[in-house]
Amino acid sequence: MATPARYRLSAGALIAVTILLAIPIAALVIVPIYAKKSPELWGFPFFYWYQLLWVLLCGFFTWGAHLIIQRDRRTIRRDRAEVNR
């Protein structure tokens, strides 16, 4: 389905959002990255603290993607408002 032109994200925003969302997915789906015991942190084996850390990081990445989309939409809206004026 073709995205109607006025809803299309700018190329830069699209790439940035894709990267921001792909990183946490890759970080958790590729299990060999973190299926190990060391380095430990406060007694937590790496496997356990790495995933807990990603809970927070994933929130930041997703929030970042949200902000980028918001900003892109605002820019488009401002441009359209100027055209209308």
Binding site: M1, Y7, L21, P24, I25, L28, V31, P32, G43, V55
Partner: protein
């Protein structure tokens, strides 16, 4: 209220203090549940939009509580630590990876679902399928899958409450009616306020539930850090998981996944993440949001619950390190008692009561939303579609209310009359089944290329393969449904059955679509337009005032700049 154990006639000790605290919180949420009917009340409360979706009016904060209360269920609180306690990381801790992965995924497609549902007035995923693919049968398949997957899930919420009741000391031996009475009362009250208040009831109760669970986990994890020590906790877990069973010579569990179960861990996490928002109760909570931005913001802030879930999972290891007994009042070993017994043994009676209340109320919120979601599916995609096509909104709401009662009592009878292993087996199957609707629902959000008949056959193949594969999984203790993992066809790699079934489903759907398109099979009329998938998009200024606690309406936020 006495802090001393009270002797009952049956000979079991009842923790009076904990029971008192539990009853206090239960009464509190019951009052809230009934009062919710007046909360944010609409002018015309008698429609499915109002009863079943809370008027589609919830902002970021309410949606955060509602979705958190909905997705992180009592069964999760009991089962994830139980799995950690019994067999370690692959069966338990994957839930952390799973509940992280889910958010970037829903960030991508859920706003589209929200928009098209908002634009077209869809209440269920099956409504969308009906409109998009113009197929009553495919919509029926999606609706029935949703109902089938939800029923055992509701039943498991009751199993969660049962674990609490058992820990307090009511239950076990003795008269069956007296034993089940607390569960009956709790469910009757829940059914009554869900009937009268609809989705507003769990939305309001979720505030209590989530606050309690955060409090309990914070206290418990600090206690574990100071008293047990994380070194000891993980060492004890490693010792247990790597100890070999003298009979089978297999390790007890998995402490850190090794090469042979990377795929198992990854597919469990990824497959479960794809499946979660196909469940009707997740869809209902998302569609009750006020705007696309509510969904996107929540994708970023909901992971806080996953942090809580991760720490809760570690309580399974804590129970192991503290050598918590998991023998129930019936004298049988049951790992599901790990967390309740941990609180019973390590904390004062009153605080254990707060923990029990958090878990028990944690069962009520999802049970209410699940029954509403299943009732909506029945009303819209079975009752209205096939029996009363011209049902008015008021008529729909009435049918849905009654259906929600039937669904809940069905789950209750299920739990009371059948072995609870059946509920657990069916919930495993529920996860396998619900993921088979992913191709139609998410595929449909992006393309109409997939043919409706191909989607139906792909769904059927996934359902049959998944069910058969799950049926053949044996363990030491059970002959069937022993595991959610099976070897992927023609390989020796163990994977999550739902994920393997999804792959087959996709392959069949794509191949058949090519064939059906080649022979120009009729593909029906698309009732949606491209614009629908962006409706109330960020470009459209929203006129809704920022009425909700501190969070301005999305429109207000964007228009400031």
């Amino acid at each position: 209220m006495s802090g001393h154990p009270v002797e009952l006639a049956a000979g079991t000790k009842v923790d009076g203090t904990a029971l008192g605290v539990l009853i206090f919180f239960f009464l509190l949420v019951s009052v809230g549940g009934f009062w919710a009917a007046r909360w944010r009340r609409a002018d015309s409360p008698h429609s499915l939009d109002e009863w079943g979706l809370g008027g589609r009016s919830f902002g970021t904060v309410i949606t955060w509580f509602l979705l958190g209360g909905d997705l992180y269920t009592a069964y999760t609180f009991i089962a994830v630590p139980a799995a950690m306690f019994a067999t370690g990381a692959v069966s338990g801790y994957f839930a952390v990876a799973y509940t992280i992965l889910v958010y970037p995924i829903i960030f991508i497609f859920m706003p589209r679902m929200w928009s098209v549902a908002h634009s077209k007035g869809y209440i269920t995923a099956a409504d969308f399928i009906r409109g998009r693919f113009d197929s009553k049968i495919l919509a029926l398949a999606v609706a029935i899958t949703g109902i089938l997957a939800t029923m055992p899930y509701i039943a498991l919420q009751l199993v969660g409450i049962q674990a609490i009741i058992d820990t307090i000391g009511i239950g076990g031996r003795g008269n069956a009616f007296v034993r089940d009475l607390p569960l009956l009362i709790a469910f009757a009250v829940l059914a009554a306020y869900t009937y009268s208040s609809g989705l507003r009831a769990p939305a309001l109760i979720a505030f209590v539930k989530d606050s309690l669970i955060y409090l309990v986990i914070a206290v418990a994890i600090i206690y574990v850090g100071v008293h047990t020590g994380f070194h000891h906790l993980f060492n004890a877990a490693q010792t247990k998981m790597t100890t070999k069973n003298p009979k089978t010579h297999a390790a007890t569990g998995v402490f850190v996944p090794a090469k042979n179960n990377y795929w198992a861990y990854a597919t469990l996490a990824f497959g479960s993440a794809l499946a979660l928002f196909m469940y009707p109760h997740s869809m209902t909570a998302v569609l009750s949001g006020r705007s696309r931005n509510v969904i996107r913001r929540n994708a970023a802030i909901l992971p806080t619950y996953s942090l809580m879930l991760g720490l809760l999972a570690l309580l399974g290891y804590a129970a192991n390190a503290e050598k918590t007994s998991v023998v129930g009042t019936d004298g049988k070993t049951n790992p599901q008692l790990a967390v309740p017994h941990f609180f019973r043994d390590q904390f004062p009676h009153w605080f254990a009561g707060v923990a029990y209340a958090a878990i028990a109320i944690g069962a009520l919120v999802p049970a209410a939303i699940m029954s509403i979601a299943a009732a909506n599916l029945f009303t819209r995609n079975i009752y209205r579609e096939f029996f009363v096509p011209n049902a008015t909104p008021k008529h729909e709401a009435t049918v849905s209310k009654i259906a929600s009662l039937v669904v809940k009592f069905g789950a209750l009878i299920f739990v009371l009359s059948l072995d609870k292993q059946n509920a657990i087996n069916l919930q495993l199957l529920g996860g396998v089944w619900i993921l088979q609707t992913f191709v139609s629902v998410v595929g449909g959000l992006y393309t109409r290329w997939l043919h409706r008949w191909a989607l139906l056959v792909g769904w059927a193949v996934g359902m049959v393969y998944g069910t058969v594969a799950a049926y053949h999984q044996k363990t030491q203790t059970v002959h069937h449904f022993g595991s959610s993992l099976a070897t992927f066809p023609f390989t020796h790699t163990k994977m999550y059955i739902a994920f393997s079934a999804l792959i087959l489903n996709i392959v069949v759907t794509v191949v058949l679509t090519l064939v059906l398109r080649a022979v120009r099979a009729p593909s029906g009329r698309d009732h949606t337009t491209d614009e629908d998938y962006y409706s109330e998009s960020d470009l459209v200024a929203e006129s809704l005032p920022g009425t909700e606690g501190g969070m301005p309406a999305p429109g207000a936020a964007t228009s400031r700049t």
